[in-house]
Symmetry: C2
Subunit: 173 residues, 2 copies
């Protein structure tokens, strides 16, 4: 069931991780899924734990368009209240659970590394001029989207994503 | 004791909210404070609940300098691990506790309103030119600082604060 949940997660995103869909994908009864994960949060948490999330993976030119698409997808996912709840649960659990803390640190590092690969390629092709470090770029792009969806509990307009992209350097066509 | 904790919080910030300081301020023994709040998180949470936090209050010109100071102070507070933990606990508790959710929504709204007052005054004086809404400005300024201190678990350089301020419009001297 866990493998099925991860496949669903990579294919369709966190919104697809329900007991029903996971049971269906794994070819077992729904009751079996409920028995393994009595709390809905835990199912998604376990699924995300070992999954290689597709976010910010494999950049393609033009990088600005690609980054916009990645941030749009992240925002769409976090706008689903269950996903925002899961992100908060994960961050909160990391305070006292070393395994979750390790997993979260790894995922934060992965985002920074992928953003580094993407911005480097944009700088190399002349599409982007920037002196901002990848860790700052990650905070400037991802931070406002996480804050909007979890703390302000609102949606992310494409307009805001454009402003975030504007803020990380000078883009050329 | 709660009143003492809130006075401390407003005067010295969340870092000052320890059992010892609160007991001292209230003129009671430390054991009494521990008896009321067996969990350290809860003491800070209660103290923050009713406090009128000074952050982003009473803007003064030049607004950019003032905003930088406010964001620096917010970052300094969140860099204290207990404060970041409290912020995450508060956000997580809001998922299932309507009273905390209400309190948190109010504090998010207060920040937006205060940022609106500050940016309006900067626009009126000709210091700032911007078309970005206050709710987006709040997400672009506060989001990266919260993300850096809670998720990336790093510190906020003044340099990053300057980049965030650059991102919300065009500043003039």
């Amino acid at each position: 069931m866990l493998a099925a949940a991860r496949q669903l997660l990579v294919r369709e995103g966190p919104g697809a991780i329900t007991h029903q869909r996971v049971a269906q994908e794994a070819g077992v009864g729904r009751a079996t899924a409920y028995r393994h994960w009595p709390q809905p949060d835990q199912l998604l948490l376990d699924a995300m734990g070992g999954a290689d999330l597709p976010l910010f993976k494999d950049p393609s030119a033009p990088i600005r368009t690609w980054l916009h698409r990645q941030l749009r997808q992240m925002a769409d996912e976090l706008e689903v209240r269950a996903v925002a709840a899961m992100a908060l649960t994960l961050a909160h659990s990391a305070l006292w659970d070393p395994a979750i803390a390790h997993r979260q640190a790894e995922s934060v590092r992965t985002i920074i590394e992928r953003i580094l690969v993407a911005t480097r390629s944009a700088v190399a092709s002349g599409e982007l001029e920037t002196e901002i470090s990848a860790v700052d770029v990650a905070a400037m792009l991802v931070g406002p989207i996480v804050y909007r969806t979890t703390m302000q509990q609102g949606t992310v307009a494409d307009d805001l994503i454009d402003r975030l992209l504007d803020s990380i350097g000078t883009w050329r066509d």
